[in-house]
Structures are given as C-alpha cells and as structure tokens.
C-alpha cells in the first residue's frame, strides 16, 4: 500500500494510518472513517476513544475458561444455574457469543484461542490445551463438547483433544456436522453430505 499518497497531514494522516491497521479496513475505508470522525461531534470521538482504551484496560481472560471478561472468574463460570458437568470447547471468544445467542446450551465453556494448524506451525502447546486438561483433571466434568470449527484445523483439533481426553474417562462429543439451515442440497459438498447421511435422525 502506498502510504505516501495518503492525503491529509499530521493528526489526520496518523488516524488514517492507525485505522488502516484494523482487519478489513483498507486505505480508502480508513480515509472515509477518519474524515467522518473529523466531522462528527467531539463527544462521539471521545466515546469511541474511551471505549477503545477501556476495552484494553478493563478486560482480561477468565482464569478458568479463558473467555474475555471484566471479572475473574467470568460471569458464566460464576453462574450457579449453569450445568457444571458439561464443558463446550470453542476456538475463540466470539464463538461463545454465537452459542449463547441460541439460549439452548447451559453448560460451561473453554476457549482455546486458536486451532491446531501444523502447516502454520501452530501445535498443541500454542493453544490452551494444557489448561483444559488441568481443568478436566481437577473438576467434576463428565462431558466435553467439541465446538471447534468444521474446517480441517477445527477437525484436527477435535480429533487431537479426543485422543488426549478419552484416557481421563470423560465423554467427548462433537457438534453435529451436516447441512446448514437454509441451504440447497445440490450445492452441498461430499464431506458435509456424507456426515449428514451418517448422522441422520428420526423425524
């Protein structure tokens, strides 16, 4: 990207540069946002700046499940109404938001912060697997639900975890992998269809 050509001087150019570093924000988007902030009322930019600063200052990772939280342990880990026998394994904190939105799951979580990816050099030690195993050894957990992504990295992570968790005598389950809601069958790939047929259920 040719940063020399970015218009604006001093603080505007600096803002554009910083915005440009964000995921999915190219140079043109960065310019548009920067000039929008420039024109917007000062309170609005103060709110934005404050929100950005406090997200770094006030949040940390839950020492139990490694979700992003402001209290430690996090609100899910502290909630007595939740089922303490089940742990759902997810790759990233955003996945918890999606699962919580369904309102159907009442167990606990564990965030791995990544997935095993041999070709990227991400191994078992680089994600929070040791912490999970410690947690399983000390706790009263009877079922571990693998909710890693259904791509190759997520599958590998799930298979690896099954291998290391099974000896502990804990039940390991995997979220069903089949056809997503609202799709047309003709576009489904072989892997998805195979699993959908294998995992069919009585109506």
């Amino acid at each position: 990207m040719d940063r020399e050509s970015s218009p604006g001087v001093g603080s505007v150019a600096r803002l554009i540069r910083e915005l440009n570093k964000l995921p999915g924000i190219g140079l043109k988007s960065a310019q548009r946002i920067a000039y929008h902030i420039l024109r917007a009322p000062e309170e609005q930019s103060a709110l934005l700046a404050d929100a950005i600063l406090s997200v770094k200052k006030e949040t940390r990772l839950c020492s139990v499940c490694f979700n992003v939280t402001e209290t430690d342990p996090c609100s899910i880990c502290c909630d007595d109404r939740r089922d303490r026998n089940q742990v759902c394994i997810v790759e990233q904190p955003q996945d918890i938001l999606a699962l919580e939105h369904t309102g159907i799951y009442h167990g606990l979580y564990h965030v791995l912060h990544g997935a095993i990816s041999p070709t990227e050099g991400v191994g078992a030690k680089d994600i929070r697997i040791t912490e999970l195993l410690n947690r399983l050894q000390s706790g009263s957990i009877s079922e571990v639900i693998m909710a890693t992504n259904t791509n190759l990295e997520g599958e590998q992570t799930a298979l690896y975890l099954k291998k290391v968790i099974s000896p502990l005598g804990i039940r390991v389950t995997r979220l069903a992998r089949g056809l997503p809601f609202g799709t047309e069958l003709e576009y489904a790939d072989d892997v998805t269809l195979t699993r959908a047929i294998e995992g069919r259920q009585d109506l």
Partner: protein, 251 residues
C-alpha cells in the same frame, strides 16, 4: 503467459489464508498450470456454496476469473474429498506435511504434471490407512526427483567407486552418499546404514503403489525419516513447519 478471462482447472487445495471478513486466498496445485492462487469470496460464511469444495486437502474442479492482481474463484466442485484423511488425526497430519512440501518446493505457475500426479497418488495412498511412513518417504524421494534434487545413491559421489556394504555417509550439501574414505574430508554428514541405502534406492526405482507393500521395521523407518528430514531441511534452508506436529503426535 496470458490466461483466458475465465478458466477451469482441476486442483488440489494446498494452502489457505484468511482475507478480510469472509474471504480466503487459496493456493491450488494444478496439473497444467502448476501452483496458482485465487481469492474465494465469502467462503468463511456458513452458507457458502463453495466452502466445502475448497477445504485444504480437497481435489476439486475450480473455475476462476482472471483478476487484475489475484484471480477470483467463481465455482468449485469436489472430485475427491479424501474423507478417510480428514477423519483421522495422523493421516490428515501426514497429508498436511505433503502439501506443505509441495508448496515449498514449487514456484508459481510452473507446470509439472508428474508432480501433480504424485501428489494425487500420495493422497489416495494415504487414504488406505496403511504403511503411511513408507508412503511419505516414497513421496519425498519422488518429489525431490521431480523438482531436480534427486539424491544420488548409486555410488560414492566423490570418488565414484561403488559403495561397499558397510555404513556409509549421507551428505546433504553434496546431495548423495559418500563412502567412508571420502566422508572424512566432509562435514555435515549423516551416517546411513546399508539397509537404509537399499530402501531409498528401491523407493526411487518403484512407484507409490509398489512402495505401499514394503514393510520396514521401526528403527529403519526412523533412520530414513532422519536422513530425509535433514536433506529437506538443508534444501529448504528452514524447518518444515508440520514436522513439529508430526513429532507431537508420535510423542
């Protein structure tokens, strides 16, 4: 080389990198175009029609549209998803190792049909779930042959005399085997047993399908892995990333 505006090719997906919110840059290994890249838009959304056909280790027909910078994937249909690979931790790790080697030993847009066939056969052989280590060694040797780094195992590469049936020395910098006398003047050599040389020669002379039938014991298997790993490391001048994971699995 100018490509048509829209083109279709068979491909094995050997690498993927996230791009933006829902896109991916994919690296394809193809029979007639060699290694190419393409942007697959929206494949990280759950309802993507292409996502399942564009996963790593999938053999697909892909349609691409020429772009200014990167080409865009417009469609994809699976030919073989190598399902046994994807549901087995060890096998998928072996296969990932194979595609990482392919990615590292090839340059963009250089056609190498035999190499594509080798990759395809390797995937299919791994799916059979037997003798995976030998399949990998055979893959490595043939890969090296096809990209111009065939190790010389026939005679001593320094004095050109036939090798005696005693432990000899494999030299990565020299790209072959040295006899005990010649190995003294060299550094970075790796002791190689008589059986190991025999197996490597045999694997070089036979195709994957034949190699599958070869039974070798654990110790020899480990020796061969060490020699090949050292040679590959020397040629690439870096670690093959997925070897660390293979070691974890054997752990």
């Amino acid at each position: 080389m100018s490509k048509p505006r829209n083109y279709q090719t068979e491909a094995i997906i050997i690498k993927k990198v996230k791009l933006g919110e829902a896109d991916r840059i994919l690296t394809f290994y193809t029979p007639s175009l060699g290694k190419i890249q393409g942007v697959a838009k929206g494949v990280r959304r759950p309802r993507s029609k292409m996502a399942g056909h564009l996963e790593l280790l999938t053999y697909s027909t892909v349609s691409l549209a020429r772009g200014r910078n990167l080409d865009t994937v417009t469609g994809s249909q699976t030919i073989d998803s190598f399902l046994p690979l994807k549901s087995d931790l060890e096998l998928s790790s072996y296969a990932l190792y194979a595609i990482e080697l392919i990615n590292q030993f090839t340059a963009d847009s250089v056609e190498n049909q035999p190499l594509f066939q080798l990759l395809l056969e390797t995937m299919r052989s791994l799916c059979l779930k037997s003798n995976s280590e030998v399949i990998l060694r055979s893959f490595e040797l043939h890969l090296l042959g096809l990209v111009g780094y065939r190790p010389q195992l026939g005679c001593c590469i320094s004095c050109r005399l036939p090798l005696e049936p005693v432990p000899n020395y494999f030299s990565a910098p020299a790209g072959g085997v040295l006899c005990p006398a010649c190995s003294n003047s060299q550094f970075a050599v790796h002791r190689i047993s008589v059986n190991a040389i025999k197996v490597l020669r045999w694997l070089q002379d036979n195709d994957l399908a034949t190699a599958e039938k070869l039974k070798i014991d654990r110790e020899l298997s480990r020796e061969l892995e060490g020699i090949m790993r050292g040679y590959l490391h020397y040629l690439l001048e870096r670690e093959v990333k997925s070897t660390a994971w293979l070691d974890t699995l054997k752990g």
